[in-house]
């Protein structure tokens, strides 16, 4: 089965329309969508959830399920129309000429099959090669995706590998047949930031090496900037702007693209002087799309009669290379006009210390044999190691770290769901580290509340929104009658800017952002003074993130709340926090004000973390630091410094000190502390990771 030689574009999608058919109606998911991918080119497909970007990918694979159908347009792969191909021809192309990488690596691998067998299947089925040759190829590809000890990896089952390693295997599998086109559907969303950076780097290198064209689907503009040559921005089933990365990022010609860029925290944005501009309104549901421009109702430049008149075609922007926009007014809009600066606010003065952690330790004992405990050797997992910090009134303290760094354990201990092993937590000077939540008085419980990460999980699906808030009020002993509590509940809905009618709605009738607002209202029901926000916006769409973040900030200013903001997204941390605490494997490796942490000297881990976060700004120059390997398991931490296995500065410290001793906490400047063995001179020699290029 030879592969066609073809010189034109690898993939040409022309006026593609895809609909899903439900019991009630036809739901158009993609309308009039065109894009072409040249050989060796990487095209990014960007948009919010529900905009149809994954549907396009499934359409290319001709895998739309029973309800989906292509209702118009053509998809040409190397000049042949995929829509008219028979199942047999398609089978021949899928996995052979077009390969796809999905978001969840574990779901793409067969858990009952060894890696080697899964990889060897590809060439054995498509090209009928011998087993030995297939094994050799598998070995080669696994070496190419930079996995350590390829032979051992080939012999293992998927569950024996970490998430990052699994995703590398999925990439290896896609590359086994040397496809002409690689479709990546959010390939790194499930991974940690530093692992993500390594995988992205790998994909980029391999694309060059194999000359593969790529269709890269992502919601992250920064990631697309780093990986792609061209970009296509989608909104509500339509492509609204396509063009080269440079053109779209710097000379955008569609209001939605502009609004999107203004709602993400780029360096330079500041919660007080230059707040984010959220896109007003909500994403339209597929069957409630407005007439004319889909973005019309949320657009600043909307003109009645023109924008809602009829279907809007793509128009070419003159002078640029294949730069198109779906806007009727793009020539009238002054794209260089300065941003209308949102409401500016005074920087809140941090008040007195409310919360103080002193050498807090939390260890878990894991018995080797749980059933007949006591006989086996006990293992100690050190989830939190000597945590010390203070948090003041009206202050935002960000806690940054990747999975397994102990930030969730810390939150549990603070909330009283677990008790500390050692050390103290002082709330208003009162020790609470050993008081489990059942023994805390109502005031303490109401004072420390939490906002959760997953909006689809944060509300009880079988209780109305109002009932859930009223329950929180009841438990915090607010008011004397049901009427009091009902009034207060409606006020809380006002506070989080939700219509009062939402009180009678069930959570499933709300969008992700609205649910998160209810979660915030519930947390503030008892007048919380300390709110632990565990990645409150990471699961939300970009345009909604800005609105929810701003809401949190606004309530914080009003209520003088201390906000402990747990996140791995350094862009948002830089935007909203006053102080930052970086954690790695249970240790606080760096703590200081936002400016101190974001500028040198860094802890080597902070440095890598800063470099790993993709930034959607072409004027930013980043130092490239890719960490080798994965985060060690907390069950089996490295000796000495927790970061020594991945640290690029380790060789600068003489005598293997890093492997022997846990570094001491060193005060760098006022309130800035770093846990590292490096010499002062080495620390001083560090250069900023992120530089804004001179204009």
């Amino acid at each position: 089965m030879s592969k066609l030689d073809y010189n034109g574009p690898i993939l040409e999608i022309d006026n593609l329309s895809i609909s899903f058919f439900t019991r009630l109606r036809e739901i158009p998911a993609v309308m009039d969508f065109s894009v072409s991918v040249q050989p060796g080119e990487a095209v990014g497909l960007v948009g919010e959830s529900g905009c149809g970007k994954s549907t396009v990918a499934l359409g290319v694979m001709q895998d739309l399920g029973v309800n989906g159908r292509i209702v118009g347009g053509s998809i040409k792969f190397k000049g042949r129309d995929l829509n008219t191909m028979s199942d047999e021809e398609l089978r021949d192309i899928r996995g052979n000429e077009i390969a796809m990488i999905y978001q969840e690596p574990m779901a793409s691998l067969n858990p009952a099959m060894k890696i080697a067998k899964q990889l060897m299947e590809v060439p054995m089925i498509h090209e009928g090669v011998s087993e030995e040759e297939a094994y050799q190829r598998a070995l080669e590809v696994v070496t190419d995706v930079k996995l350590p000890d390829p032979e051992r990896i080939l012999k293992s089952y998927p569950h024996q590998l970490s998430g990052g390693q699994q995703q590398r295997i999925v990439i290896a599998m896609a590359l086994m047949s040397k496809p002409a086109l690689l479709i990546l559907d959010e390939p790194t969303t499930a991974l940690d930031v530093t692992v993500e950076a390594a995988v992205v780097e790998l994909v980029k290198d391999l694309g060059k090496k194999y000359g593969t064209s790529m269709l890269f689907i992502s919601h992250n503009l920064g990631l697309v900037l780093e990986t792609c040559d061209r970009i296509c921005v989608m909104y509500s089933g339509e492509a609204v702007e396509t063009g080269s990365i440079k053109d779209v990022f710097d000379k955008m010609q569609h209001p939605y693209t502009q609004a999107l860029f203004r709602s993400i925290p780029l360096p330079g944005a500041d919660k007080n002087s230059r707040p984010l501009v959220a896109i007003p309104g909500n994403f339209p549901l597929p069957h409630e799309r407005p007439q004319g421009c889909n973005f019309g109702p949320r657009c600043d430049y909307f003109t009645d009669g023109l924008c809602n008149g009829g279907d809007i075609p793509m128009a070419a922007v003159e002078g640029d290379d294949r730069h198109n926009t779906r806007c009727l007014r793009f020539k009238d809009i002054d794209w260089n006009a300065p941003i209308a600066i949102g409401e500016q606010t005074e920087k809140a003065k941090p008040g007195k210390v409310v919360l103080k952690m002193d050498n807090l330790k939390k260890y878990y004992e894991v018995a080797a044999n749980a059933l007949f405990g006591g006989t086996g050797a006990k293992k100690v997992v050190k989830a939190n190691e000597t945590l010390s910090f203070e948090a003041r009134e009206s202050e935002t303290l960000a806690i940054v770290g990747e999975s397994g760094c102990g930030k969730s354990t810390f939150a549990k201990v603070l909330m009283g769901l677990e008790t500390a092993t050692d050390g103290q937590i002082l709330l208003d000077g009162k020790n609470i580290e050993r008081t489990p939540i059942e023994s805390r008085d109502t005031k303490t419980v109401a004072d420390v509340q939490m906002v959760f990460q997953n909006p689809f999980d944060t509300l009880n699906p079988s209780m109305t929104v109002g009932r859930q808030i009223i329950r929180a009020l009841e438990i915090f002993k607010y008011g004397n009658s049901d009427q009091d509590r009902k009034d207060r509940m409606l006020e809380l809905l006002d506070l989080v800017k939700l219509p009062r009618a939402f009180a009678d709605r069930m959570p499933r009738q709300l969008s992700g952002g609205q649910k998160q607002r209810v979660g915030i209202a519930r947390a503030f029901a008892g007048g919380a003074r300390i709110v632990v926000a565990d990645e409150p916006v990471s699961a939300l769409d970009v345009s909604v993130q800005a609105a929810v973040t701003d809401l949190l900030m606004e309530i914080q200013r009003k209520e003088k709340t201390t906000l402990l903001f747990i996140s791995h997204d350094l862009s948002i941390v830089r935007y909203l926090s006053d102080r930052v605490m970086v954690m790695y494997l249970g240790h606080v490796v760096e703590l200081g004000t936002t400016d101190q942490v974001f500028s040198p000297p860094y802890h080597p881990y902070t440095e890598a973390l800063l470099s790993a976060v993709p930034i959607a700004d072409t004027s930013i120059e980043k130092q490239h630091i890719v960490l080798e390997g994965d985060i060690p398991s907390a069950m089996n931490p490295p000796s000495g410094c927790p970061f020594q296995t991945r640290c690029r500065w380790k060789s600068k410290v003489a005598g293997g000190l890093c492997e022997r001793d846990v570094p001491p906490v060193r005060m760098m400047a006022d309130g800035h502390q770093i846990k590292c063995h490096l010499d002062q001179a080495d620390l001083d020699s560090m250069t900023p990771v992120i530089k804004i290029a001179a204009e």
Partner: protein
């Protein structure tokens, strides 16, 4: 008089069942009209399988109800014997019929000259009463024990799961034989089991109300008072029986339950609850990791509130499906018990016993055994289809 032909028999049976048809049509018309407002029940009418299952089940429910409650549908007294009608084939005219009598044995007579049709119809009454009720009790027991086992885990879970496995490992039929043996019944053992098992609904209801309303004591007291009044009256009436070991609260003994029936009921609850326990435990283990449970924990809710108001309502989908399936199993179990002649009076027209009697002469006279077998089969099939439909629809959207 002539024998009735097959067509005439069918026509006459369909005519006898007219009240059931009317009730069925009304139920369907009303349900389909308002199906968008009826939640999961309404969605059932979007699935063909679910609708067929629901139709069969409601058919038997109405049949049992009308036959047991109003004496409609049945043509003769299911217990009375008419000389000359022994083992007569379907459609035989009634020997020596007087004026008020129905003139035919529609499905023939059995070996004691009783009307097979009336026996099958009146056999449905006990099934549609006992099967759902026993299942409901089994769910109460399973939920009350399964939630803490799944939520707390650890040693409690180990002990309860072990106990559940113990019950499941015991041969069911042997257990029934033991329970209904007169010697054991005299010791009052089944009644003591009833004392324990029937206490669970009271515990369940009390905890359910208290965990939610303990912050508003006035409201709570009223609700618990009313609940207790009703439940305790039922409880004592159920466990109390004159002349047996437990006859202490005769003053509040509202009604008597036949000792045999009580034994059957207790046995069915006893063997069903461990399976329910396992399902609930599994669901609780899954749901307790959700953020809304964590949210409830961080605002200091009691553990019973979390289990009953945060976890249980969100486990309802799989539980409702299992409830339907389990009524089916219970129906089969009741049939088995009747077949072995365990528990109920020997002349009682329950399906299991009727099948057993008919079985003895099956090769010569198949007609007494077939109708009850078909009745049992269709009801269980209907429940399974209903469960399938519910599962399918609850997974959508």
């Amino acid at each position: 008089m002539e024998h009735l032909s097959g067509l005439e028999i069918t026509a006459r049976i369909l005519t006898q069942l007219i009240p059931v048809w009317i009730a069925l049509v009304v139920t369907f018309l009303v349900s389909i009209k308002y199906k968008r407002k009826l939640g999961l029940y309404g969605k059932l009418f979007d699935s063909n399988v679910g609708m067929i299952g629901f139709a069969i089940v409601t058919f038997w429910v109405f049949t049992g109800l009308f036959a047991g409650g109003f004496d409609w549908i049945i043509t003769h007294d299911p217990l009375s014997q008419v000389s000359g009608m022994k083992n007569k084939i379907p459609g035989t005219p009634l020997a020596g019929a007087s004026d008020g009598d129905y003139a035919y044995y529609l499905l023939g007579g059995d070996n004691l000259a009783r009307d097979v049709f009336s026996r099958v119809i009146s056999g449905s009454t006990k099934v549609i009463l006992i099967a759902p009720l026993a299942t409901l009790f089994a769910f109460m027991v399973g939920i009350t024990l399964g939630l803490p086992a799944g939520y707390f885990g650890g040693r409690l879970d180990m002990v309860l799961s072990f106990a559940a496995n113990l019950v499941l490992a015991f041969p069911v039929i042997l257990l029934f034989y033991l329970l209904v043996t007169p010697e054991i019944r005299i010791t009052g053992f089944p009644q003591y089991m009833a004392v324990v098992l029937f206490a669970f609904p009271i515990i369940f209801a009390t905890v359910l109300i208290n965990s939610r309303y303990y912050l508003v004591p006035q409201k709570r007291n009223v609700m618990i008072g009313v609940t207790w009044f009703i439940l305790f009256a039922l409880y004592f009436s159920l466990i109390n029986e004159d002349g047996t070991v437990i006859s202490i609260f005769n003053a509040i003994d509202l009604f008597d339950v036949d000792g045999g029936l009580l034994t059957v009921f207790v046995s069915v609850v006893f063997v069903n609850s461990p399976t329910v326990f396992r399902i609930v435990r599994g669901l609780a283990m899954d749901i307790k990791t959700r953020d809304y449970v964590a949210a409830a924990q961080t605002r200091g809710e009691g553990t019973w509130y979390i289990m009953l108001w945060e976890i249980l309502p969100n486990a309802r989908g799989p539980l409702i499906v299992d409830f339907c399936l389990r009524i089916g199993y219970t129906t089969i179990l009741l049939g088995t018990l009747g077949f072995f002649g365990l528990g109920l009076a020997p002349e009682d027209p329950n399906w299991g016993a009727t099948i057993n009697e008919g079985r003895k002469l099956l090769s010569i006279y198949p007609h007494p055994a077939l109708p009850p077998s078909f009745a049992l089969l269709s009801l269980v099939l209907g429940l399974n289809l209903l469960a399938d439909g519910l599962r399918e629809e609850s997974l959508k959207d």
